[in-house]
């Protein structure tokens, strides 16, 4: 097709995409603005779009007074450890499933059922399970619980990836006397790195954001960010700026990660639907 400058339809396209960006990003922007407003500008009529000064004290209040620092730390511990553990278990599992067809056809069904199980439907037995082990309100419980949710997803996506990459290189390595384990570590794993980054990113985002099980399984000892936010929003004297600051801190890591790993995010999120 010939390119002949901007057509009317091109302009329309730009306008529509711009409108979509405004709709989908303005709530985020409003939060960012509130996060740097001084207290007397939090609730005003008319609402203030541009704060008179950048009031960074909201962030120190959020971090120190309202448990934001502990929240960030806990979220980081839980999300990174469960992501790491899921990858550690999930990559070999996916390799086994993809290469030797362990589990066969039924696997994807089992995996999907776990993925889409309404959390509420398993909440009661899960609660009793962890409480019988005396692990309620512990890092261990939350990390393992998230690993349970991440693992099927990771092995499902990586399985199809391992099926797609050619066996030839591994087989020639095996013929040359390498063990299966070495073939896995030195050939399959490096080839799978982009896919591993993609699923690792998604596992991290999931664990960082998870709310329901944090609500059920933890109380005061482990307080991830998604868990403390709604608590702070209760009551009458809502400190909008401080909460906005915590919320911003809660959104920042995943958003930054998403932009850095853009390419992998897009590939990872469209998992299974399309082979590129």
């Amino acid at each position: 097709m010939k390119r002949q400058g901007l057509t009317f339809y091109d302009l329309l396209t730009y306008a529509a995409v711009a409108l979509a960006l405004v709709v989908f990003l303005s709530p985020v922007l409003w939060m960012l603005i509130t996060a740097v407003k001084p207290p007397d500008e939090w609730l005003t009529t008319p609402p203030i779009l541009i704060p008179s000064e950048l009031h960074w004290a909201n962030f120190t209040d959020a971090l120190v007074t309202w448990g934001g620092a502990k929240g960030l730390g806990d979220s980081l511990i839980v999300a990174s450890l469960s992501t790491l553990l899921s990858l550690l278990l999930g990559v070999p599992a996916a390799y086994a499933l993809g290469r030797f067809n362990t589990g066969g056809e039924n696997l994807s069904f089992t995996v999907l059922s776990i993925l889409f199980m309404p959390p509420v439907a398993v909440a009661i037995p899960m609660y009793l399970f962890w409480s019988s082990l005396g692990l309620l309100d512990s890092y261990t419980a939350l990390i393992l619980q998230y690993t349970v949710f991440n693992l099927p997803f990771i092995s499902w996506v990586l399985k199809s990836f391992f099926e797609d990459i050619s066996r030839d290189m591994e087989e020639s390595a095996l013929v040359n006397g390498a063990t299966r384990w070495r073939a896995f570590w030195q050939i399959a794993v490096p080839l799978a790195r982009p896919a591993m980054l993609a699923v690792g990113l998604l596992a991290f985002i999931f664990s960082w954001n998870e709310f329901f099980f944090a609500l059920i399984l933890t109380r005061a000892n482990v307080t991830t960010l998604p868990f403390i936010l709604p608590v702070l929003m209760e009551g009458h004297n809502v400190l909008w700026g401080d909460i906005a600051a915590i919320a911003t801190l809660g959104a920042l890591p995943v958003v930054i990660l998403a932009f850095v790993l853009q390419k992998y995010l897009v590939r990872g999120l469209s998992f299974g639907t399309v082979h590129e």
């Binding site: 059922s113 398993v122 693992l151 998604p226 809660g250 995943v254 999120l269 639907t273």
Partner: protein, 276 residues
């Protein structure tokens, strides 16, 4: 350990569902057969929560799919920055529901929210949004739309990008206009991907919980109590574990049927891609 964690809840839920198990009443649990299940069908609150769930599912099919598809086609028309724009649009999907919920609490604020301020400028009525029994549910459906339409766009966009360019070019050379391209090429060729995207989102909408908890807690009254939230209320507010488990099993069956459908579509999609 992991297997136990995923199988145990199921078995436990099934046994509890046939018992009269109310934590607050100190009577030994006893087997009551199907009575918990019979209760479901004569329970008005169950039917009303099913109605709320239907609203969210309708939102996915009637709003998120058309808008998401439209945006995907528009992004496809752009020549540059596609990945960047998709990632920007995805910010509502990536951030935690707690964070997103806070943003909408601010925006929906009756007295100081920017939405009501703008409505006031236009001399339009200023509703109480999530506190209004008739508006609360549409508000939540909209927040879900805001959070997940970008995800729909991403899936469909990835699908569009994987279409063989020869087909699209051939259609262009034959003189197809933009609309014809959408109706005659994109929609039919993308049918498997569209099916997957819609079922995936319907499954997620079916188990929706976080948004409701953060924004309305099921209220006002029971106006925004969906099936998942109602189960939570029965289990963790009234502590009627037997009944909550029966409700859970019903949801698990529904999800299993949908997941089965999803797998069939995925398989057909990859078969179709392999053929091309």
């Amino acid at each position: 350990m992991l297997a136990a964690n995923s199988i145990f809840p199921l078995i436990y839920a099934v046994t509890v569902a046939f018992q009269s198990y109310q934590v607050l009443i100190p009577v030994p649990h006893r087997f009551i057969g199907l009575r918990n299940f019979e209760k479901i069908f004569s329970d008005d609150l169950f039917w009303s929560s099913l109605g709320v769930t239907a609203w969210f599912i309708a939102g996915v099919v009637l709003l998120q799919f058309p808008v998401g598809f439209g945006l995907a086609v528009l992004l496809q028309r752009l020549r540059r920055h596609q990945d960047l724009l998709v990632t920007l649009l995805l910010v509502p999907t990536i951030i935690s529901t707690s964070v997103a919920g806070f943003q909408w609490v601010q925006l929906f604020n009756y007295q100081f929210g920017p939405i009501n301020y703008l409505l006031g400028l236009l001399h339009l009525p200023q509703p109480t949004w999530t506190a209004d029994p008739t508006l609360a549910l549409p508000c939540l459906v909209f927040v879900d739309f805001w959070q997940w339409t970008p995800f729909m766009t991403l899936l469909l966009f990835a699908g569009l990008r994987s279409l063989p360019s020869t087909v699209v070019d051939a259609a262009r050379i034959d003189g197809s206009t933009g609309w014809q391209l959408v109706w005659r090429i994109y929609l039919p060729l993308l049918r498997p991907v569209i099916g997957i995207a819609i079922i995936l989102r319907v499954l997620m909408a079916f188990k929706l919980f976080d948004v409701i908890y953060v924004l309305t807690a099921g209220g006002p009254g029971i106006a925004t109590e969906n099936l998942a939230f109602y189960t939570y209320v029965q289990g963790f507010r009234y502590f009627d574990m037997g009944y909550a488990a029966a409700l859970s099993i019903l949801q698990l069956i529904a999800v299993a049927v949908l997941a089965k459908l999803l797998i069939r579509l995925t398989r057909r999609a990859s078969a179709a891609m392999a053929k091309e």
